[in-house]
């Protein structure tokens, strides 16, 4: 019963967790997000793709931490500024994106999601599931799955 009504909910509106990287507003569907963490101590892993910042232990589970700035060809982040970890689950594995900050959970009608504009840079377009126009800025809806395929195009 609850399954049915939530399906209806998905059809009519979309809940997005908003976050910022390099002052760009991004959003991921709320069911993709698993947990938001403050900056955590991460362990570097040798000999991995450069976008993997390391790993952290979340209550006994290993979380692979991904710095998407590298992927999006943004300047590396300032380590002195505190950051936020957005934990997601993909194929049973936990992954965390490093973002500058998180905002609210935003509820928008599904119909307002548009395709990514063609002038968007290809590395942005690859991970974009669409855009939503807010009053003052553009919210890029993130499709996190391509982020979890490492090494293929890293170099």
């Amino acid at each position: 019963m609850s399954k049915q009504s939530s399906a209806v909910l998905h059809v009519s509106e979309e809940q997005l967790v908003t976050m910022r990287i390099h002052n760009q507003l991004l959003g991921i569907p709320v069911w993709e997000a698993r947990e938001i963490l403050r900056e955590q101590k991460i362990t570097k892993i040798p000999l991995v793709a450069s976008e993997i910042a390391g790993a952290l232990n979340l209550r006994g589970r290993i979380v692979t931490v991904i710095d998407i700035r590298h992927r999006l060809q943004l300047p590396p982040r300032d380590p002195s500024v505190p950051c936020i970890f957005v934990v997601m689950e993909h194929k049973g594995e936990l992954y965390s994106l490093i973002v500058d900050s998180v905002g609210d959970v935003l509820t928008i009608p599904s119909t307002s999601i548009q395709n990514a504009p063609p002038n968007l840079a290809p590395n942005w377009r690859d991970i974009s599931a669409g855009v939503h126009r807010l009053e003052k800025e553009l919210l890029i809806i993130l499709d996190p799955r391509p982020l979890f395929t490492f090494g293929v195009e890293s170099d």
Binding site: S2, K3, S5, R34, I36, R38, D104
Partner: protein, 691 residues
Amino acid sequence: MLSHLRIIHKLAISTLAFMGCIFALIYFYADSIGSNIEFAEKELQGNEYQSALMPLLYDISKLQTQHLQSTDTKELIGKIELHFARLQSTQSKLGESLQFTEQGLASRSRSQLKLESILAKWKSLQKTTEEKYSDQADAAYKSLTADIRGMVAHAGDTSNLILDPDLDSYYLMDVTLIALPQTIDRLGQITSSISSKTILEGDQKTEAAVQARMLKEADFDRIKGDFDTSFKEDPNFNGLSPSLKANLDTPIKNFNAAYGQLIDQMNALAKSGSTDDITKATATISTAQESANKMYEVTVKELDVLLQKRIETYSGQKHKVLAACGGGLLLSILFFIVVVRDITKPLKNIQSTMSILTGGNIKCVIPHTDRKDEVGDMASSLAIFQKSLIESEELKSQQEADKNKAEQEKKRQLAKFADDFESSVKGVVSQVASSAMQMQAGAEGVTQIAADTKHRSTAIVNISTEAAQISSQVAAAAEELTASIKEISAQTQKSSQVAEEASSKAESAKQAIELLSEKSSRVSEIIEVITGIAGQINLLALNATIESARAGDAGKGFAVVASEVKNLATQVSKATGEITQQINEMQGATKTSVDSVMEILGIIGQVSGSTSAVAAAVEEQSAVTNEIAQNISRTATGTQEISHNMVSVQDGAQQTGDTANEVLETAKNLSIQSNTLKQKVDEFLATIRSA
């Protein structure tokens, strides 16, 4: 099409089809028995027909003898006429059936045997009897006899007598149909060849010997053999006929005696050829003819008896077959009913059991599982089906239980999350409350210190005023300097003491202000902690929002509370921002106070220096009396400045006190807000736990 029929109808159809085949077989069997009966009936007809011919043969042969002997033939002719009349009636009765028709006779090349032409032959022969026996008459007798024998043969052929299937009647048939007509014919020929002669010579003797031999071998032995075989075989075909041997015994004995005698006489005649022997033989021929005729009559009757008996046997067989068929029909109907009941009733039971099963009562007892037939198999399969149904039901309830368990687990996790949330948020809230309390206490301390500072400043002002008065007294006393140096010295000492006191008071004011500065920076630290906690609450609220969104409908209430918690965190952040601003302002004011006090201290140092100079001047009284007045006025000016500066110290302390009051108010506000936060968290937890 068969699938539309019920089993009972299918069984009925197959049974009917099977029974139909059986009936067809029985019909053909009964039909073949019937055709056997028809066969025998036809034989009876043949027998009847030939029994009408035989007297003719006999009497015509007799007539020939009488004609030869020239005795009166009228009586015999009348008898023969009667025989012909009987033959005609027999012909009209059986002629059609036995094919004594033009076509039937022609098909066997016996067209000359038509009754009309035989009657015509008889009429012409009748005429010859009125004359003396001639060769022409002899030929006429021979022809008529041959024709009648042909008719006998035709009746035998068309009536199936010749094909008689039973050995007893077959041999009787052989006697009546072939052997007796042949011997009567032969006796007639012998009569015609010897009775007109007085003696026999040469070839005639030989012929007599041949006739004797033929009588013995072709007629007597044959008839004897026929009867022997017939009697011997009689019990093997349709049972022993009681009348057969009994009735034939006498005629056969007579026949045997007559023929034995005739053969002996013929043999004797063949040797002697004497007239005496001819007479004897002629007489015996007549006896033999009679005995043959008698035997013929009896044999025909017995043949009838045998044929009737055969017909009875076949009819009995036919009735038995029909009775057996009826019995079989009844039995098969009974068996059909039993079988149908045995199949349909258990099937119906199983069908109703299936209905009960599909109706949901899966624990019902399945009947007929002990049966060894297909119904039993079906029942066993149904039992297996029932077993799997029960198992699947159990599995279903197991899954239900698992599902409930999982839901309970989910609830338990939610409750645990609420507990965790409570312990962390409540800890934070109480920390905020205690921090607010601490801050309140700190602010109160600052206020006290500020009041203290003000109080001490007032004291300094008073002392400064006093110092001014003393200076004027010194000025007054300067004129009386010479008079009272001791007094000046004392006054100077006193002035030095007051300056020291002022210095120490200013020092303590400085310390109090520094304490205030320290306290306010401690407040800043607390505010930083509160800001950090507000950030954590914000993240916690965000996670709660995500969790509630993932929980779907169940998390909707949770989401509302989470957003309220987030709002509170935002408010806390705003309040701490305001506090920080206030603290900064207070710190600025404190710094001003410290600067002022430092200036006071410097001036007090100067006062001390001036006082020392006064003391030195007292020692050089006379030399520097003029300068005293100047110094005094300078002292007065300094004191006035102290007084003036002390007022600004007082102002600073007042400002500090005001700021501290504001801090106190904000801290109280924070305390109230933290109480509200605690209340909201409790509500939130109550919502989660009740979810």
